[in-house]
């Protein structure tokens, strides 16, 4: 047993450390910040879903904000109108959204990357208006307000025993989100390690070849859409919990872009990528808005333009720069740095990786 512990690859230790870090985090930050971190985790879950679609099966979606909205409203309506326990609504929201996503994946098969982006973009643009319409159900423009959840006795007692303070609602939400996050990340890791993951990656890297080796293209691609939407639905549901309300304006097109930026920056086709991406996507606009005005070397005109522009300019620039210079995101950079460091420490000379050249056009 000890033997196996010793020989676990460093990656597993890293995961353990990270998990412990997140479990302990609320004990060292204040309640409000815990709420913020919960929202970052929510984004991370949604981005994990998006990553399954984009990074692993190569289909672009700009409509994941809309899927989040579906999950959020499902939970909100079930909890508010039908008085269900919010926690119970979370998996229901996920499954419903997943099914819708799976169905959406069927016509999506017909579209190449650009057109799929356009179609999902249309979905994201239309979503807020679609939500407002059935006003009695969705609360229309005002949305639905949710009561802050009360931490249940066992959780609250444990927390109090460990930290000496009572658990706040925000902190409880944080732990719910964390629990779902751990579950979903573990699920994704398992999924992608095995056949489904390999199939999807084969599809991403070359559909013709994948189909030729017997992979059911249509099946896996729609499955990817479904799973991806499932994650977004759960994230949306948790979002409602964390924010305390849902409204059409909570799910603008910008959210979908934000998710994509997070996925790209964190690292497409990686498991830790979405977590990093979620943290980045949530905290960047907040930090930069506070940071920019304090930098006196930025001329006033540019600074005010950046402030007024909001995150859009930053996101756009980040997307472009990342895809050009670091297409595998932060995870990719870290992995490359790690390999080089390890090589240097062990005295192995840097070998240029082999590239398959593009064949001249053949007919």
């Amino acid at each position: 047993m000890v033997q196996r512990f010793r020989t676990l690859p460093p990656r597993y230790w890293l995961v353990l450390v990270v998990v412990l870090f997140f479990i302990g985090l609320p004990t060292v930050i204040d309640s409000f910040q815990a709420g913020e971190w919960a929202q970052a985790l929510v984004l991370g879950i949604a981005i994990m879903g998006l990553n399954i679609l984009v990074g692993y099966s190569g289909q672009l979606s700009l409509g994941h904000g809309a899927f989040m909205a579906l999950g959020a409203y499902t939970s909100a309506i079930l909890a508010h109108r039908y008085k269900m326990d919010y926690l119970v609504t979370i998996p229901i929201a996920g499954l419903l959204t997943g099914t819708v996503g799976f169905v959406f994946g069927v016509p999506a098969l017909r579209l190449s990357a650009l057109y799929l982006a356009l179609a999902t973009f249309a979905l994201a643009v239309v979503a807020p208006s679609l939500i407002k319409r059935p006003a009695e159900l969705t609360g229309g423009v005002q949305g639905i307000v949710l009561l802050p959840p009360v931490p249940p006795r066992p959780a609250s007692d444990t927390f109090a025993a460990l930290t000496g303070t009572a658990m706040t609602s925000d902190q409880w939400v944080y732990y719910v989100t964390l629990a779902w996050g751990l579950l979903l990340f573990w699920l994704a890791w398992n999924l992608l390690r095995h056949r489904a993951g390999r199939a999807m990656r084969a599809i991403r890297d070359g559909e013709v070849a994948a189909a030729a080796s017997g992979i059911n293209l249509a099946g896996y691609k729609t499955l990817a859409f479904g799973i991806s939407a499932f994650y977004a639905g759960i994230a949306g549901s948790l979002f409602g919990l964390a924010a305390g309300f849902v409204s059409p304006d909570s799910f603008p097109v910008a959210l979908s872009i934000q998710l994509l930026v997070g996925a790209v920056v964190g690292g497409l086709a990686s498991i830790p990528g979405p977590l990093i991406g979620g943290i980045f996507a949530y905290f960047l606009p907040i930090e930069s808005n506070q940071w920019v005005p304090t930098q006196t070397w930025i001329p006033a005109a540019i600074a005010s333009t950046i402030e007024k522009a909001g995150p859009a300019v930053t996101y756009g620039a980040v997307l472009i720069l990342t895809m050009i210079f670091a297409p595998n995101g932060i995870v990719g950079l870290a992995a490359a740095a790690y390999t080089r460091l390890r090589g240097r420490l062990r005295g192995v000379p840097d070998r240029e990786s082999g590239q398959i050249p593009q064949d001249p056009q053949t007919v």
Partner: protein, 293 residues
């Protein structure tokens, strides 16, 4: 009945605008193999440039060609700076980059000009002309006419000139074209410049109607996309027919279908897109092809 007729006629007029943009999409995306999610935003920026020139006193008829030249140069610059580094990357990377470009341009335009819609001059009068008892404005008809001329010019350039030939060759068969002495890199840049200029024309034509503001092209692009999908993505004629049908349908649905109303017209476009893809993926006039759109 009168209302119905009016709706149809104005639907055809709007549809004509969608048709011209759908046509631009078909020509540019297919003939030149261009992948540019930011086509609409580049057009919007060009229109703002024209706006700035005009508000500084430049005559409309001078500002127009000057803007086209700037748009052309801008298109080439973007290709050289942002697209060329990832020339050999998979399609997905390119789409994501052009998406970043979209967000960037939209944000910049918003920051510099704000989101308040502005009016933009049109060379055509707003007077209406009577067609079959319904009214269409000269302006709408003018937009359709100008777009038609521009697109015809582009079509002739692509199909009948050597430059057009090398453009198409470079876009679809870069490696084989190199072996024929085609300077592929520059042809791709030229393609972007042309697409950008065409977009600028669309923007300048459309701005007087939908008012100039950073988000103006977003919904229009979706309508144009619906038109192109309906008509069959590979067919220029299909794009035109698709545009007209989308224009009329959206107008009629907006008035006669209570659920839709004014703000869900875009949802109708989305429904058309999904419906066509599920029921008849090659659209009305598309060739049944093994390739996906």
């Amino acid at each position: 009945m009168q209302e119905f007729l009016q709706l149809v006629v104005s639907g055809i007029a709007t549809g004509g605008i969608f048709a011209s943009l759908a046509l631009a999409l078909v020509l540019i995306y297919n003939a030149m193999g261009l992948v540019n999610f930011a086509q609409g935003e580049m057009a919007m920026v060009a229109t703002f440039i024209a706006f700035t020139l005009i508000s500084h006193g430049l005559n409309y008829w001078i500002a127009f060609p000057v803007t086209l030249v700037i748009a052309f140069a801008g298109g080439i610059a973007i290709q050289r700076i942002v697209i060329r580094p990832v020339e050999r990357a998979p399609l997905l990377t390119l789409v994501i980059i052009t998406l970043g470009l979209t967000t960037l341009l939209n944000g910049l335009a918003g920051a510099i000009f704000g989101y308040v819609p502005r009016s933009f001059p049109s060379p055509f009068s707003v007077q209406t002309v009577n067609i079959l008892g319904a009214y269409a404005s000269y302006r709408d008809l003018g937009v359709i006419a100008v777009s038609g001329v521009v697109l015809l010019a582009i079509y002739l350039l692509l199909q009948r000139t050597t430059v057009g030939l090398t453009l198409r060759a470079a876009a679809h068969h870069p490696e084989a074209s190199r072996l024929l002495g085609v300077r592929v890199s520059w042809m791709l840049a030229l393609g972007w410049g042309l697409a950008s200029a065409v977009g600028a024309v669309s923007g300048i034509m459309v701005a007087p109607i939908i008012l100039l503001e950073p988000n103006m092209m977003q919904t229009i692009i979706i309508y144009a996309f619906a038109a192109a999908v309906l008509g069959g993505i590979e067919s220029p004629l299909g794009a035109v027919i698709g545009g007209l049908i989308v224009g009329v349908t959206v107008n009629l649905a907006g008035t006669y279908v209570p659920f839709v109303g004014g703000d869900l017209q875009l949802a109708v476009a989305l429904a058309i897109i999904i419906g066509v893809l599920v029921l008849k993926p090659n659209g009305l006039l598309g060739r049944p092809s093994v390739r996906r759109v």
